[in-house]
Amino acid sequence: MSSSSTTTTTTRLLMLKASDGVTFEVEEAVATKLGAINNMVEEEGSEDLICLPNVNGKFLGMVLEWCKKHANNNTNSDKGNDEVNKWWDKEFVMDLDQNTLYHLLMAADYLSGTELVDLLTEKVASMIRGKKVEEIRETFKIKSDFLPGQEEEIRKKNSWAFE
């Protein structure tokens, strides 16, 4: 941040290009919340267009939306903003369907958005905690590939965990 009295907006803009060709123009300060982009900016320096062949435009857009919110809220270093961020995060993950959650998590992980990965993994964990195995199977549509009787055998062997 410049400390001169004429606060000129010298924030650099970056172009991010998703796998489907969709491009996003974002402020550097926002995009560098993602570790991967931060590294690219530091290494390559002058390059303004960054191609992200592993991320679809829809999910890149969502990741950037999250970054933007957090970058804005973090400019005033106030503890009250933690609350705002938490509330906003809760809203952000509230109604995500599993397909979106999966792709978003993969995108966040690929882009090294550590905080966003934490948020999304915790969301998945909340869908597991306190649930019965059958409910978990139903929620995530996990198919059993055990041989007939094998599941029952494992269940017996691990009866100490199921009682």
Binding site: S5, I142, R155
Partner: protein, 409 residues
């Protein structure tokens, strides 16, 4: 997409067949997710599919808590249930130990155990036989006894776990009977800990030569503790005692919660850049002396210091000051004078009767003020007080100020 709502998305691709997405996530992400899930669920998930069976045998973080599963472990003074939890923990470790021979990279590196209100000694001694102590990097033990005298003594295997980097202990007792050697430990947090005497603390710190962060709260048995470590960078202490001596030449950040008036000896800590005092009972002179003692101080936080009357804060390198002060009945309103600061940010929270004045300001950038509104309506006097309060602060030209007023109205 396994949600019940079957929607047609904007891009025209209909969501029809539900797909198992979670089982296709890369291992590190699965492990990350399961680090938030109590181990009992991870074990149970092993009957979902072969993949999930392997996941249970390779997940690096285990955590157990007496409240994980209300029907099973939730005990309050129920001895049988208590034993059931220990048996469960031991069973899990046995299974993992056996499988380690077949599955590569399946060492347990994080272990968390929380037991609320146990009656007997927690059976951690029985865990000493497991090889987990040779691989564990993060250990978090919080075992709250029903009776104070039951404070638990750690077995030697834990106190000599060479791979340990992060250790959090609650409600344990150090009686000095074991030698301590934790060469990789960088972060140590002790809460509600009992120590026989000052020498026990000294030996503990000697056994942790790489320690950088030390959080030490609510300990019993110590009256004049001395903290010495040449590696320590961050220290947080919360307790009342007679005297405290801190001899840590590389300490950068010190946070101290205490209502004691007595002597804190920090003279050896010249490298401190960040100092936070909470509920301090130090008088103006002792407080000023303390602050002057740190030539490199960049950040200062004073939270509700009781005995401040008229204090001058002065520091060449101070970049950020944070004050919080409310009116104490029967006391005068304090005056803060801040001189020649190179401040970048200034925070104040409290009531406007406190006087704050800044002299010879060069470049304050960010001022954040939260004040308590009046108790009986916004009368004219209150606004006059507010204006007086603000005018004393003496902002320079390029300052951004944000002001929040909290009130019951």
């Amino acid at each position: 997409m396994a949600t019940k709502r079957v929607k047609t998305k904007k891009d025209g691709v209909p969501n029809t067949t539900p797909v198992d997405r979670i089982s296709t996530l890369p291992d590190p992400l699965i492990h990350h997710i399961l680090s938030y899930v109590p181990t009992i669920y991870v074990v149970r998930m092993s009957i979902l599919s072969r993949y999930w069976r392997r996941v249970w045998y390779s997940v690096p973080a285990l955590h157990f808590c007496s409240t994980d599963h209300p029907d099973r472990f939730h005990f309050r003074f129920h001895r049988e249930r208590e034993e059931e939890l220990y048996e469960f923990v031991i069973e899990c470790l046995k299974h993992r130990e056996r499988s380690m021979r077949y599955i590569a990279d399946s060492a347990i590196t994080r272990f968390k155990l929380r037991i609320d209100c146990y009656v007997d000694n927690p059976a951690i001694d029985n865990l000493s036989i497991f090889s987990i102590w040779r691989s564990v990097e993060e250990l978090d033990l919080r075992m709250r006894p029903k009776f104070f005298e039951n404070y638990y003594c750690l077995p030697e295997a834990v106190l000599n776990a060479r791979s340990l980097t992060v250790l959090k202990l609650n409600y344990v007792s150090f009686d000095g009977s074991h030698s301590i050697s934790l060469p990789s430990l960088t972060s140590l947090s002790l809460m509600y800990v009992k120590m026989n005497d000052e020498a026990v603390l000294h030996n503990l710190l000697l056994g942790c030569p790489a320690l950088e962060k030390f959080v030490f709260k609510y300990y019993y048995g110590l009256y004049n503790p001395k903290i010495s470590s040449s590696s320590l960078k961050l220290l947080e202490i919360e307790n009342n005692y007679e005297t405290l001596e801190v001899e840590t030449i590389n300490l950068e950040s010190f946070e101290f919660h205490s209502e004691c008036k007595d002597i804190i000896n920090l003279s050896a800590c010249k490298a401190i850049t960040s100092l936070s005092l909470f509920d301090s009972m130090l008088d103006d002179e002792s407080l000023e002396d303390l602050v002057y003692g740190f030539p490199l101080l960049e950040s200062l936080t004073l939270y509700h210091c009781f005995d401040v009357k008229n204090i001058k804060i002065c520091g060449q390198h101070l970049k950020s000051i944070s004050l919080e002060k409310y009116y104490d009945p029967g006391q005068e309103y304090p005056e803060f004078t801040i001189e020649k600061p190179n401040l970048v940010s200034f925070h104040f929270k409290g009531d406007i009767q406190c006087g704050i004045s800044m002299k010879e300001l060069d470049n304050i950038l960010n001022v954040h003020i939260i004040i308590e509104g009046p108790f009986e309506g916004y009368e004219r006097d209150w606004y006059i007080n507010l204006i007086t309060f603000l005018s004393k602060i003496n902002f320079s030209g390029n300052t951004t100020v944000s002001l929040h007023v909290y009130s019951e109205e």
